[in-house]
């Protein structure tokens, strides 16, 4: 009988909940006694009891704080509640203590929801791992797995470490890290992250990162640091709050000494904590950054959030950002009677003897169509191409310079075909068989699937100028830009040219965000008002250095990140206005005599709840993201 009660009493949260419920019930009982049956004595007794029940916890905490010489809000409320009892204001005393407890309970509950995104990340980290030791699967705490040990993950299991798949394959949901709802196929050689889920299949993973040394842990750490970072407005408020509470206490004592109005002085004590004001910006920031983290968007702090909310221009790198960064074979133009399949077949035989990046997609395409024999002999000519022999035939594949070198001439149709391939923005691979032109293969680095949609979405968000900055040649750059809806292209740039352009945009009065791969874009990224890195889940450097890191290789996260930043900035401002109006309104009400202790506490608690509820709106998914509003093609993600 006593043990469960003791357990409840020992647990602060559950104790407060029960004390609040009992106190509330006593108040209802007392009000019924007075207004239903006119029993004034019973009313006073229940109010007194309610004040004692709720007040006991407040007073106990005030006492504990005093012992460590801390002047707490609980102490002010205790003094006010006891003072009210002394002057016979039983109802006020009961209402103030009940509302203080009930408000705090509701506030903690709602605050927990704004902190929910972080809690979800923490929950994503598994506590146990199954490792293979002496050939047997053993369950151990996730943090005690050793580097290079083989971890076994079964279907439906969470991956407990960062690592490389050595055996097996599975569809892995990386939503916890990248915000990507579509699982990625992982098989031997793929990298996997702690906190992701193997939805089917069994994986054996060689551990490369454990515990605090995983991408998940780094993200958690970064999200926390971002949420703790104080926005400039918050520092101002904290300074104000430091003076506000003692100021009001002095005012209360002064008012009592001068006017002798004890209820006024006690009411001042009740409203001495500017609760809504001190949490107005933190709750918005916690909710905004948390909401972004849920989508795999890491915003590095309140200050970056404020900057990102002001962005009106975006500069993007081309290769690897707007494009996949992997060239693919996009056209095959046979010349002089050979057919398409034959041209591809012979070119691939030549390319199979080399590991040039342009050769890879050609080999893949040919393999898809049939068996691919190896070349008998291959000679590579640097900067030109290669000459190979197979089955007694000679194959030459390369650029224009190779053919000038070999003395193979271009007739009019060949010149026209070459101009056509280049005009469409492709990189040409010219092929000759036995010294005679056989055709041209056009390769291109394809724009990302969602690039055009992302650019359109960015313009809708109000980014009115989007510029491509690339080191690539103007023709392919223009072709890509036209395809995805970018009209401003700056091509053939060196890293320092990119930097100069960013400075120029800023001088023209733009707030510029730059997104790039962080290597040759580093100076431009550093100069931009907001630097954004994409596909950051794979590279920890990007998580560390960028102002905003998009975990997935998904351009649609870009407009989302900017929209969340803007919404958060707006939300912070709304909260500040609500909080300031409350402070001014409460003080005016107290001095005009319209606000008494109970109503003062009620308004104070309501303002805190309104501010938290307003911030909670940020946690909702933006309309674009709702399921069913849009379907995305399945595409494997290689981390």
């Amino acid at each position: 009988m006593f043990t469960p009660i003791l357990t409840i009493l020992r647990h602060p949260a559950s104790r407060r909940k029960w004390l609040t419920i009992i106190s509330g019930a006593l108040i209802v009982f007392g009000l019924t006694a007075l207004y239903g049956f006119g029993l004034r004595g019973l009313w006073a007794a229940s109010m007194l009891a309610a004040a004692f029940v709720a007040g006991s916890d407040i007073a106990w905490r005030a006492f504990h704080a005093l012992r460590i010489r801390h002047f707490s809000i609980e102490l002010l409320v205790t003094v006010a509640a006891v003072g009210a009892l002394f002057i016979g204001e039983y109802w006020e005393s009961a209402a103030v203590t009940f509302l203080f407890m009930f408000g705090a309970w509701l506030e903690a509950r709602t605050m927990r929801q704004t902190r929910g995104a972080l809690a979800d990340l923490l929950k994503a980290a598994p506590e146990v791992a199954t490792v293979i030791r002496d050939g047997e699967p053993v369950e151990v705490p996730a943090a005690s797995v050793l580097l290079d040990e083989i971890v076994l993950v079964r279907a439906g299991g969470r991956i407990p470490v960062d690592g490389e798949v050595t055996e097996g394959s599975a569809a892995v949901s990386e939503a916890a890290i990248t915000g990507e709802p579509i699982p990625a196929e992982k098989s031997a050689g793929s990298h996997v992250h702690a906190g992701t889920i193997a939805e089917n299949g069994v994986l054996r993973i060689r551990a490369t990162g454990i515990g605090a040394d995983t991408t998940l842990a780094r993200i958690i750490r970064r999200v926390e640091e971002a949420q703790e970072e104080r926005a400039p407005s918050q520092r101002m408020i904290e300074r104000f709050a430091q003076w506000y509470t003692p100021g009001i206490m002095v005012l209360a004592i002064g008012a009592w000494a001068v006017t002798g109005n004890l209820p006024l002085a006690l009411t001042l004590l009740v409203v001495a904590c500017p609760g809504a004001l001190v949490i107005s910006t933190p709750v918005s920031i916690v909710a905004g950054i948390g909401r972004a983290a849920r989508s795999g968007i890491l915003i590095k702090g309140g200050q970056h959030l404020e900057h990102a909310g002001r962005i009106n221009m975006l500069a993007l790198d081309k290769t690897g950002t707007l494009t996949e960064g992997k060239p693919s074979l996009t056209e095959i133009v046979p010349l002089g009677g050979i057919d398409r399949a034959e041209l591809l077949h012979w070119t691939a035989i030549a390319e199979s003897g080399s590991d040039h990046p342009l050769g890879r997609p050609i080999i893949e395409a040919a393999r898809a169509e049939g068996a691919l024999p190896a070349a008998d002999k291959v000679e590579e000519l640097a900067g030109m191409g290669l000459v190979a022999e197979h089955d007694g035939r000679q194959i030459a594949a390369g650029n224009r310079r190779l053919f000038d070198h070999l003395g193979i001439s271009f007739d009019a149709p060949a010149e026209a075909a070459l101009a056509g391939v280049m005009g469409r923005g492709r990189t040409p691979v010219i092929v000759a068989l036995d010294g005679k032109l056989a055709g041209i293969l056009g390769l291109s680095d394809q724009p990302r699937a969602m690039a055009a949609a992302a650019m359109a979405e960015l313009r809708r968000t109000g980014i009115n100028r989007i510029a491509m900055l690339t080191g690539d040649q103007p023709q392919p750059a223009q072709a890509i830009a036209a395809e995805i809806g970018i009209d401003e292209v700056h091509a053939a740039l060196m890293p320092e040219d990119k930097l100069a352009l960013i400075r120029q945009f800023q001088a023209e009065g733009h707030h510029v965000a730059m997104i790039g791969d962080g290597i040759n874009d580093a100076p431009a990224l550093a100069a931009a008002d907001t630097s954004i890195a994409m596909g950051a889940a794979g590279t920890d450097v990007a998580i560390e250095t960028a102002d905003i890191a998009l975990m997935a290789d998904d351009l649609l996260k870009l407009p989302e990140a900017i929209a969340i930043s803007r919404a958060t900035l707006r939300n912070m401002r709304q909260n500040l206005v609500i909080a300031l109006l409350t402070v001014v309104g409460l003080l005016a009400g107290v001095f005009s005599g319209d606000v008494h202790m109970a109503s003062g506490m009620l308004i104070h608690q309501l303002s805190v709840l309104i501010v938290i509820a307003n911030a909670m709106r940020l946690m909702r998914r933006p309309r674009r993201d709702r399921p069913g509003s849009q379907s995305r093609p399945l595409r494997p993600v290689e981390a």
Binding site: P12, H64, A65, I68, A125, G211, E224, C273
Partner: protein
């Protein structure tokens, strides 16, 4: 020997609790530093685990009116 322990609480509703909890933790024997983060509910304590084990930290925080749990990171 000094160790760094991390605890988490999701019960903070007003930043006034921050200094209170920090003071309560710092008053314990063997606690070199205590930092409470209101926004995330993260509590970092540098302490001598022999003089004040993590359980004692949890007790001290409980006495100020909040429930906290030790966390790995």
């Amino acid at each position: 020997m000094s160790t760094k322990s991390i605890l988490r609480s999701d019960e903070f509703s007003c930043p006034s609790c921050v200094t209170k909890i920090e003071k309560a933790l710092s008053a314990l024997p063997g606690v070199a530093a205590a930092k409470v983060h209101f926004n995330t509910g993260r509590i970092e304590v540098e302490h001598d685990a022999a003089a004040t084990p993590v359980d004692a930290l949890v007790q001290a925080i409980r006495a100020t009116g909040y429930e906290a749990r030790p966390a790995a990171f």
